[in-house]
């Protein structure tokens, strides 16, 4: 279970003061597929990044399982991060490494007891024939599949996705959503998806937080749809879209 309690986060420069997160309370169940939506700058990424300690809160607590993430020592933090994977909007693949090497990367950083094999995970995302390719030889959708394969190989208990489809077109978005959906079904990890694309949440998530200006203004139960439908508007339409079948 994930619990975020009374979390505040500000970014300070010399004269600017951005309240990225204000008084956040949130509980996410183990194995849940949870969405976070909101307009640009609402604080979605910051919220997500609390969970793997890429950001630290100014105040409050971030609890994941029995770890208090914001108070772990460096060593304990690494041990915690070992089982948390992230999928990025810009894929963040190493361009000088092959697909195979990219996917295997997490296994070279930590000792895992029961990781998946490169072949199994490439097969899972449908890229077995691209094993020896370099990222520059792949399309955007294929790159993101590599990103997902890299995230899955360690069998994470928590999968964080920050705008996983926002660099992709409609068709490719659908492919990626299906891969993530399948991953959730097969591996059963907790999965949190941050996006401004409502259709992605609708296809993937059980519940979704709606963020505005650093606050969670609502948490809605999603009526899942089998297909992606293209909706482009934000918060006001979110509830309408998400709560109707």
């Amino acid at each position: 279970m994930i619990q975020i309690q009374e979390v505040n986060k500000t970014f300070r420069d010399e004269d600017t003061h951005v309240y990225a997160l204000r008084d956040i309370h949130l509980t996410i169940d183990k194995g849940e597929a949870f969405g976070v939506i909101g307009e640009s700058g609402a604080g979605k990424s910051t919220l997500l990044r609390l969970l793997n300690a890429l950001e630290r809160p100014d105040s409050g607590r971030v609890l994941v399982g029995d770890h208090q993430v914001n108070q772990l020592s460096r060593k304990d933090l690494r041990a915690y991060q070992k089982d948390v994977s992230m999928v990025f909007q810009q894929f963040n693949l190493l361009n000088n490494k092959t697909v195979e090497e990219n996917v295997r990367l997490p296994l070279t950083l930590h000792q895992y007891d029961h990781p998946l094999t490169v072949d199994a995970v490439l097969n899972f995302v449908g890229l077995e024939d691209k094993k020896h390719s370099y990222p520059s030889q792949l399309s955007g959708g294929q790159k993101q599949r590599v990103g997902i394969a890299r995230a899955l190989i360690s069998r994470p208990t928590l999968l964080l996705c920050d705008e996983p489809t926002s660099a992709l077109d409609q068709n490719t978005t659908e492919e990626i959503v299906n891969v993530l959906k399948k991953a959730h079904e097969v591996f059963g990890m907790t999965i949190i998806v941050v996006t401004h694309e409502l259709a992605v949440i609708k296809a993937l998530c059980d519940r979704s937080a709606v963020m505005e200006d650093g606050r969670i203004v609502d948490i809605v139960s999603v009526q899942k749809s089998a297909e992606l439908t293209d909706f482009k508007s934000y918060h006001e339409r979110a509830i309408e879209v998400l709560t109707h079948a």
Binding site: N52, L54, L77, R78, A79, Y80, Q81, K82, V84, S85, M86, F88, Q90, N92, L94, N95, N96, K97, L105, P106, T108, L109, H110, Y134, S136
Partner: protein
């Protein structure tokens, strides 16, 4: 015309042994400079990068002091650096003049400072997302450097090294001042002091060829390891 040519060739053959000696001296100086650039310049540049403000290993004291040292060395006119280092070289090596190893000391110092800056620059060009990815995976700093930063920066590190080595060649030509020898010193001695102009130009052409070879080889290597 064929006669002048044959005279020239004879003279070159005459001077060849001395030219080879001087090339050997240049090689010694370049060897130590290159070694220092890799063994010390690379880690110093990496440390400069890692310790900068806003980076995961931010450390003002280390960053500011390394920065100051590198800037001081690089802003020193090289000839003055050579002269200023004389007492130190004598202390460490026994003598400060008259051989290419003594002359390598200032070369080592400038090589470290110069390449450290190039390394820092190369690492700055690695997208921030790569560092973030390493962090999100719980990589140690060591792992982040070797498995992420150097992998993505490798061709630019090679190009920087090539550029640095070409500067080392240029710096090495000054070392005749302290009896370090080298091909640059050879050109100055025969061309400037003895008016053997043809021999001087020959030496300069040799230097140019040397630079071209390094440049060609460096670019080729950089290209072959760049999969971006």
């Amino acid at each position: 015309m064929p006669e002048t040519l044959s005279i020239y060739i004879e003279r070159v053959i005459d001077f060849a042994p001395r030219m080879v000696d001087s090339l050997w001296e240049t090689s010694i100086m370049l060897f130590f400079a290159m070694l220092a650039a890799i063994l010390v310049g690379l880690p110093v540049g990496t440390l400069l990068f890692l310790s900068a403000d806003g980076r995961p290993n931010e450390n003002r004291l280390i960053n500011r002091s390394l920065n100051a040292v590198v800037n001081i060395i690089r802003s020193f006119p090289f000839l003055l650096l050579v002269v200023a280092m004389q007492p130190l070289i004598r202390e460490v090596y026994g003598r400060a003049t008259g051989d290419p190893i003594a002359a390598s000391f200032p070369m080592i110092v400038i090589a470290i400072a110069l390449y450290a800056r190039f390394v820092e620059q190369s690492l700055m060009d690695v997208p921030n997302g790569i560092i973030e990815t390493a962090q999100s995976m719980g990589a140690t700093t060591w792992q982040m450097v070797w498995k992420f930063l150097y992998v993505e920066a490798r061709s630019s590190l090679v190009i920087g090294f090539t550029t640095a080595v070409i500067s080392f060649i240029s710096y090495s030509t000054i070392m005749g001042v302290v009896g370090g020898g080298g091909i640059g010193d050879f050109a100055i001695r025969y061309g400037y002091q003895r008016y053997e102009t043809d021999i001087m130009y020959t030496a300069i052409i040799v230097i140019i060829i040397l630079v071209e070879v390094f440049q060609w080889f460096g670019l080729r290597l950089a290209k072959s390891i760049d999969k971006r």
